[in-house]
């Protein structure tokens, strides 16, 4: 009996100790969305459960190892106990009840995470190898940064251009895959202004590690100002617009300084003679570049495998392609 009391006290003490130790460091990143609140609440409950079970098992085990260790010279056997049905039932039923309760809490928490605001700001998120693009259909604006107004739910309608990607901002806690040919949805309500990083969480090929994009949560006024600026930017000269597009979609694979990346470099590309896969050569003129963007598998460069570059004809408008060609032309 004495053993049990000591162990019980130690387990309780160790539970609190473990919990305090873990919570003394920030185990989760800053909480920056309304969805993070129910999720973090559930983390806290789970942390108590983990601390308790960890203490229960390790303390009991350590106690046995120390107290019931074999002393030198002792050759006797342990106590002959084969089992105890009541105990077994207890430690079957108690965990069963616990996990059902946990699942119930999980389901409730999930419904809170998914709560929909009918006035949510719509953002169309497009992922591709290896870029992010965000379109605000209400304003007709496209950007490579995700701007979100604070305290307003954003409904992210996401799709992928090629392979599966996944949308994750650790501070927002929620995550959702982007599928090719299908739209998936995620609702995020930022609660704190600031800068965050959007990460692609699903392995998506060579440059998966670098598939990140800045996220800026700003006040409603700043957000509107940014939208205004974006709209006016559309009136810039074509090379400027093209550069912006290039940074968003192209430079992950095409260098502008002649260095080797997944795709051919753009340095000195315009007007040069390029060799195609079938051995023939063509001049990289405007028609060639336009085809290379809108229908990349039509003329494949020698030394670069086909079916790698996405078909941007489906993503970019005619005038955007013109901007891009103008930009490529400007790179000496």
């Amino acid at each position: 009996m004495r053993h049990f009391i000591v162990v019980a006290l130690l387990v309780i003490a160790c539970t609190f100790l473990t919990h305090t130790a873990i919570t003394s460091i920030d185990i989760l990143p800053r909480k920056a969305s309304a969805q993070a609140i129910p999720i973090d609440h559930l983390f806290e409950i789970q942390l108590w459960l983990i601390s308790f079970l960890f203490s229960l098992v390790t303390v009991t085990l350590a106690y046995s190892l120390i107290v019931f260790r074999r002393r030198p010279g002792d050759v006797s056997e342990g106590v002959h106990v084969e089992g105890n049905t009541r105990l077994e039932i207890l430690w079957t039923v108690a965990p069963l009840v616990t996990v059902i309760a946990l699942a119930y809490l999980g389901a409730r928490s999930l419904s809170e995470v998914q709560r929909a605001d009918p006035n949510a700001l719509q953002v169309e998120v497009l992922g591709g190898q290896w870029f992010w693009s965000f379109t605000y259909p209400e304003y007709g604006v496209t950007s490579d940064e995700l701007y979100l107004p604070v305290s307003k739910q954003a409904l992210l309608r996401m799709t992928s251009l090629d392979v599966i990607h996944s949308f994750w901002v650790p501070e927002f806690r929620v995550k959702q895959d982007l599928l090719p040919g299908k739209i998936t949805e995620l609702r995020v309500t930022p609660t704190e202004t600031g800068e965050y990083t959007l990460l692609c969480a699903e392995m998506c090929g060579t440059s998966h590690a670098y598939m990140v994009a800045p996220v800026k949560v700003v006040s409603q006024e700043e957000f509107m100002a940014w939208i205004e600026e974006k709209i006016s930017q559309a009136k810039l000269d074509p090379v400027q617009r093209g550069r912006k597009l290039a940074n968003q979609y192209c430079t992950a694979c095409h260098s502008i300084d002649g260095s080797q990346k997944v795709g051919p470099t753009w340095k000195g590309l315009f007007g040069s003679l390029v060799t195609l896969e079938d051995g023939t050569s063509v001049i990289a003129d405007e028609v060639y570049l336009r085809n290379a963007i809108a229908n990349p598998n039509l003329q494949i460069r020698k030394g670069y495998p086909g079916n790698v570059m996405p078909n941007f004809g489906n993503i970019l408008t005619e005038s955007q392609i013109e901007d891009l060609v103008a930009y490529i032309r400007s790179i000496e």
């Binding site: 185990i27 989760l28 990143p29 129910p38 559930l42 983390f43 789970q46 983990i50 079970l53 960890f54 098992v57 009991t60 046995s64 190892l65 019931f68 260790r69 074999r70 006797s76 342990g78 106590v79 002959h80 106990v81 084969e82 089992g83 105890n84 105990l87 077994e88 965990p95 069963l96 996990v99 699942a103 809490l105 999980g106 389901a107 928490s109 999930l110 995470v113 392979v163 599966i164 996944s166 994750w168 650790p170 929620v174 995550k175 959702q176 895959d177 599928l179 090719p180 040919g181 299908k182 990083t197 990460l199 969480a201 699903e202 392995m203 090929g205 060579t206 998966h208 590690a209 990140v212």
Partner: protein
């Protein structure tokens, strides 16, 4: 030279080379005859690899008896090949003990290869930005590490199931010895094919091989898909054999609830590997078909569904985790009473909990897909079913605690590894529920937290029990005992450093470190953690090196040990070591409970004619 050529393994490798060349040539010839452009790399290499695997099996000679049966010729049932000495370990022996050792060696080889891959990319991660690996090299090594280790684990559990199950149930061999040899030898060419992906441009999909990424990956992915599909047969047929052996070959007086507990966990594992393994094979073959013939199973633009792959894949790959850990947990339950000198607490409950884990395990795969965009209504049911796994797992933990309570505990090397197994598996188990609960999973999915959780489950459920088993049964296998000193050095190198590494994995995962990335954002401040983890990984690896030194040292300098080293009640320890060729000379009779330690004068088994 003649001796070398008489080894089945060498013949097999030469034949595989020949077969691969023939396959490629044959395919190209057929294309040329059909008037097509004769050279197309991808299908040619796939055909070549298939031919290579078949030729390997022919070369080893593992198909000889079956070919004789097909020709209506008789074959011999009990072949004693012990006169071949060490050479029988390199050929198609039918003895389950030889096959067990073959599996063990293959497992250790693959573990070293997979571990080497891990050390390479772990070193790359120690600092921000890429230092000595390219992105593609990193992705290939990371992906291969996963699958090579999985196959190493499958070989490792097969090693002990093969070696032990017939011994523990008093059988002279497995139910189907030829199938047993086949199951092992098919794994060798599969592993070679898998590793050959390195030479064919690698692949960048992770071990999961999700389409559409795997459809767009370099040719190396075909070798990955094919190697895994083929080695699946090893698992399937091995599982079949174990089930049939347990059902049909037990000593007559051994009722189900008097079987050693490891036999129960082998049965549970085999039920999963017999059935679910087919689906990873199928899902991988579907990707191969999509690549080779344009069959659009997973191409959304042509009516396919990428989520379908994930369902088929995880229907195996989640239960697979239970395939990996159930035998390890069985080893813990098997060895704990020996070092505690007390009966296994709640034997029947532990036996049933293994089956419980196996059966519930079939219903939980969806928790890998909570963020995948699968049908919304599936998320909550999968959360409930996944959390249910905690119940039978809890039974095991509590029963182990009760077993150790009031024992007479001693700390030989196997016991140390058992204890590390329990604690590390506990860490893996406790980090499980946050994944199972959908809303917390939304944060954790595909983060380094998962990596930490999974490595804890694997080390606690497989690696540590595996080393415990090697140290424990080494005298039975070889007649020599591994050095305790070196064993303890190995333990203290491996266990603490591994725990630190895995806790740090979980820590940075929670903070936003993604899994499967070659490089990470400097702004997150993960660099010091990665540096520590890399050092810990090297210490763990050093522990494995010490193990190999221990084996060599023991083989050279170790004194013969023939008796019941651990004072165990188990039948295999009641006869001298190493085990005779046909196991027990006299039939085995069960006269008591398997784990009645502390009950003076009681015995578990005796032999016919023995008083």
């Amino acid at each position: 030279m003649k001796v070398i050529l008489s080894l089945g393994l060498i013949r097999g490798l030469l034949w595989q080379l020949l077969g691969t060349a023939l396959g490629i040539g044959f395919f190209t010839l057929v294309r040329a005859l059909l008037g097509l452009p004769s050279w197309e790399a991808e299908p040619a290499i796939v055909v070549g690899a298939l031919f290579g695997a078949l030729f390997f099996l022919l070369g080893v000679g593992v198909l000889n008896d079956w070919l004789k049966w097909a020709a209506g010729e008789p074959t011999e049932d009990h072949v004693d090949d012990s006169h071949l000495g060490w050479r029988r370990y390199f050929g198609p022996s039918l003895d389950h003990k030889v096959i067990g050792v073959q599996y063990l060696v293959l497992s250790l080889v693959l573990m070293s290869v997979g571990g080497l891959f891990a050390l390479l990319f772990r070193t790359e991660l120690a600092q921000v930005q890429m230092q000595f690996l390219s992105l593609d090299q990193y992705n290939t090594l990371m992906s291969l590490h996963g699958m090579v280790m999985i196959i190493s684990i499958l070989m490792g559990i097969a090693a002990f199931m093969n070696y032990l199950v017939p011994l523990l149930i008093g059988a002279h061999d497995m139910a189907f010895p030829r199938l047993n040899a086949f199951s092992f030898w098919i794994a060798v060419p599969s592993a070679i094919i898998l590793l050959s992906s390195l030479a064919l441009g690698g692949f960048d999909t992770g071990w999961t091989g999700y389409p559409p990424l795997s459809v767009r990956a370099p040719i190396g992915i075909q070798m990955f898909l094919l190697g895994v599909s083929l080695s699946g047969f090893s698992s399937i047929l091995g599982g079949l054999n174990i089930i049939a052996t347990i059902v049909r070959m037990r000593a007559r007086s051994m009722t189900p609830f008097r079987m050693p507990i490891f036999v129960w966990s082998s049965l549970a594992t085999s039920i999963i590997s017999l059935t679910a393994t087919q689906l990873i094979g199928l899902s991988f073959q579907m990707v191969m078909l999509q690549r080779l013939f344009g069959m659009s199973f997973f191409d959304a633009t042509k009516g396919g569904n990428p989520i379908l792959f994930q369902h088929l894949f995880w229907f195996y790959s989640h239960p697979a985790v239970y395939i990996f850990v159930l035998p390890g947990l069985g080893i813990i339950s098997e060895l704990l009473p020996v070092f505690v000198r007390k009966p296994l607490f709640g034997y029947r409950w532990i036996a049933m909990s293994s089956l419980g884990i196996a059966l519930v395990g079939f219903l939980v795969w969806g928790h890998h897909m909570f963020t995948s965009g699968m049908a919304e209504y599936l998320r909550v049911p999968f959360m409930y079913s996944t959390l249910l796994v905690a119940v039978p797992t809890g039974i095991k933990f509590f029963s182990w605690l009760a077993t150790a309570w009031q024992g007479k505990i001693s700390f030989e090397t196997p016991m140390l590894f058992i204890l590390a197994g329990i604690v590390v598996f506990l860490l893996g188990g406790l980090s499980g529920p946050p994944h199972a609960v959908v809303s917390t999973n939304l944060h954790l999915h595909d983060s380094y937290f998962v990596v930490g959780h999974f490595h804890n489950a694997m080390y606690g459920g497989f690696v540590f029990p595996f080393f415990a088993a090697i140290f424990y049964w080494y005298p039975k296998i070889t007649g020599k005992r591994l050095s305790e000193t070196l064993g303890k050095i190995q333990f203290w190198l491996m266990a603490p450093s591994f725990v630190i590494m895995s806790l740090l994995m979980m820590r940075i995962g929670l903070l936003g470190m993604r899994r499967r990335i070659a490089d990470y954002e400097p702004a997150f401040g993960f660099e010091p953690y990665h540096l520590i983890m890399t050092i810990m990984a090297f210490l763990t690896a050093l522990g494995v090196v010490v193990f190999f030194i221990n084996v060599i040292y023991t083989q050279l300098k170790g004194q013969p040990v023939t008796g019941n080293v651990w004072n165990s009640r188990s039948p295999e320890w009641q006869v001298p070591s190493p085990m005779p060729v046909h196991n027990y000379e006299r039939e085995l009779i069960v006269v008591g409970e398997p784990y009645d330690y502390g009950s003076p004068g009681s015995r578990y088994v005796k032999f016919v004619g023995e008083a």
